[in-house]
């Protein structure tokens, strides 16, 4: 492999525990890093503030899709019974809104739930099967008991030496540069 083909994607450092990760994230934020990420085996309370991230917009997405599901469901039933196939059963009126509520509600929940799941993955940019961070062997620990901070090389504040030193200065261990073909 030619060394010139090797690209530097960023840097990664490991931290001892959730508390250190949280405080280091605050220091990264205060130092002006933007494209850095904290990896942990479980969500850590207060990390959004520590990293300076806003509240997720997922709620609005689900709200809209839920409403669409409900409106669509109610419209479908009304159309079926009043227009497409107007047939009286059990002496009930053709437009029996009382009887339509159940399916309307069901479709609202279905649309909301599907949009919530798609929303989680879309907003998290998943599925993504290739990511430079997987070049780091040590990173595998994140899904067990490892706490990591990674910085992308296209962060304006990134420079190989300076970033590595900074990560070490805030308590990072096993600081390494992520590079690969």
């Amino acid at each position: 492999m030619n060394t010139s083909d090797v690209k530097i994607y960023g840097a990664i450092a490991e931290f001892e525990n959730p508390s250190e990760l949280l405080h280091s994230a605050e220091k990264m934020r205060d130092a002006g890093f933007k494209k850095f990420e904290c990896h942990s085996p479980f969500p850590i309370h207060g990390m959004d503030d520590a990293m300076g991230l806003k509240r997720s917009v997922l709620g609005y997405i689900v709200f809209v899709f839920g409403l669409l599901g409900a409106a669509g469901g109610f419209a479908l039933q009304t159309w079926v019974h009043s227009v497409a196939y107007p047939l009286t059963y059990a002496g009930k009126p053709l437009f029996s809104w009382q009887a339509f509520i159940i399916v309307t509600f069901g479709l609202m929940v279905l649309a909301g739930a599907i949009s919530a799941v798609m929303g989680i993955f879309h907003l998290s940019k998943l599925p993504r099967y290739w990511d430079a961070i997987f070049y780091s062997d040590r990173f595998k620990k994140f899904s067990d008991d490892g706490f990591f901070i990674s910085v992308e090389s296209d962060d304006p504040k990134f420079n190989e030496k300076g970033t590595m030193d900074f990560l070490e200065s805030i308590g990072g261990k096993f600081v390494e540069v992520i590079k690969g073909a």
Binding site: G91, Q98, A99, I101
Partner: protein
């Protein structure tokens, strides 16, 4: 800040005095009303009475749940619940006019009516005046026992063992409560139309009762906060939880009342649908729709927002709305039995409401003034104050 300071601060307040004054004025108006039109009076009285008795019982149930689940967030509110519950024996006294008004209220109490009605004859072993009064007495003995016992334990609780003791009372209490509450609602409200029946009726009224226990706490907290009491004790985290529970029980109430309506609508059996028919005649239709709107749609939408739940002023406004819906709910349950052609509001609805509200609230306030406002010695009080939603 300690609890004695609060008490002194509250004692200077006029809220209690104003409340009693309103109550007494209301009683005077009620006397006039009774002399003018006893039937209207007793129906208006029943509406106002049911409004308050369900709220007090809702507070009792809240307390039972608080102890049973070992909830920590509501520990700061426990003495407010105690104050509300302390009026349960008073509610027994306030029931007396209903006892005297049985003939005006309950069709089944007339021997002549029973003589011509096979159904009422079949129900007579249950629906008769003596048994009715005896049952009411039993309900109040059980409720008073539970509330007095729990208040006493609550005001002296300092150790975990005390909490365990309250929990034991609550376990038995919940079972007793479920049965007595249901039968009380069958007796006082469902038997207004003695032919009609619904198995879910007790649960339906329970939904409104429990919901309004949260509502009245919000209102009391609002009044206390105006005098800067409970600052830093009851925080917006607690408001949010109260709001969440209100939201939950609005849905519960709507679910239960919709289940009842829906199954009767679908089954379409005349002996059942007649109850809803009475509530769909003339202006009753408007009242029914208003109830759905004010009791469910509006608060449901508003309480979805986190910011509303965390703002005491907003939460108080929405609480007043739910309060109004609860009154309307009781009105809607009682009045169509006598107003066959449409809803008709009378000035006596107001005077009976003022009378009972003034007296009951006056006593609630007095209880708040005379006792610590929050259980400062409870082993979980610090945790409760520091409580956070996720």
């Amino acid at each position: 800040m300690n609890s004695n300071e609060n008490t002194n601060q509250l004692a200077n307040e006029n809220t209690g005095k104003i409340s009693f004054a309103v109550g007494i004025a209301g009683i005077l108006l009620c006397v006039v009303g009774y002399l003018k039109d006893p039937e209207q009076f007793i129906h208006s009285y029943l509406v106002a009475y049911m409004f308050w008795v369900t709220i007090c019982l809702g507070a009792l149930f809240f307390t039972l749940m608080h102890h049973l689940t070992g909830a920590v967030w509501s520990t700061v509110l426990r003495h407010i619940l105690d104050a509300i519950m302390s009026t349960i024996p008073l509610m027994a006294i306030l029931w007396i006019p209903i006892g005297f008004g049985i003939h005006d209220l309950y069709h089944w109490s007339h021997a002549s009516a029973v003589a011509h009605d096979a159904l009422l004859q079949a129900k007579a072993p249950y629906l008769n005046t003596t048994f009715f009064v005896v049952r009411t007495l039993i309900y109040f003995i059980i409720w008073s026992f539970l509330s007095i016992k729990l208040i006493k334990l609550s005001r002296s609780a300092v150790t975990h063992a005390d909490l365990d003791r309250m929990r034991k009372v609550s376990a038995i209490g919940t079972v007793l409560f479920a049965l007595t509450f249901s039968f009380a609602m069958f007796d006082w409200l469902m038997s207004l139309d003695p032919h009609w029946y619904s198995t879910i009726y007790g649960v339906y009224l329970f939904g409104g009762a429990y919901l309004n226990a949260f509502v009245i706490i919000v209102l009391i907290v609002f009044l206390l906060k105006k005098s800067n009491i409970l600052d830093g004790i009851v925080t917006e985290e607690h408001y949010q939880d109260l709001g969440k529970f209100m939201f939950g029980f609005i849905v519960f109430w709507a679910y239960i009342s919709a289940s009842q309506y829906f199954l009767i609508w679908y089954g379409n059996i005349p002996e059942e649908t007649i109850w809803y028919k009475h509530r769909w005649v003339g202006s009753w239709k408007t009242v029914s729709l208003t109830l759905v709107f004010v009791g469910f749609v509006l608060p449901f939408i508003i309480l979805m927002f986190r910011s509303v739940k965390r703002n005491l002023t907003f939460l108080t406004a929405i609480s007043l709305l739910i309060f109004a819906a609860h009154y309307l709910d009781m009105f809607w349950n009682v009045m169509p039995g006598v107003q066959h052609h449409g809803a008709h509001f009378s000035w006596m609805d107001i005077s009976t409401f003022l009378a009972i509200s003034g007296i009951v609230f006056g006593f609630i306030w007095r209880s708040l003034v005379n006792h610590p406002i929050y259980p400062s010695k409870d082993p979980f009080i610090q945790k409760s104050i520091a409580f956070k939603n996720f």
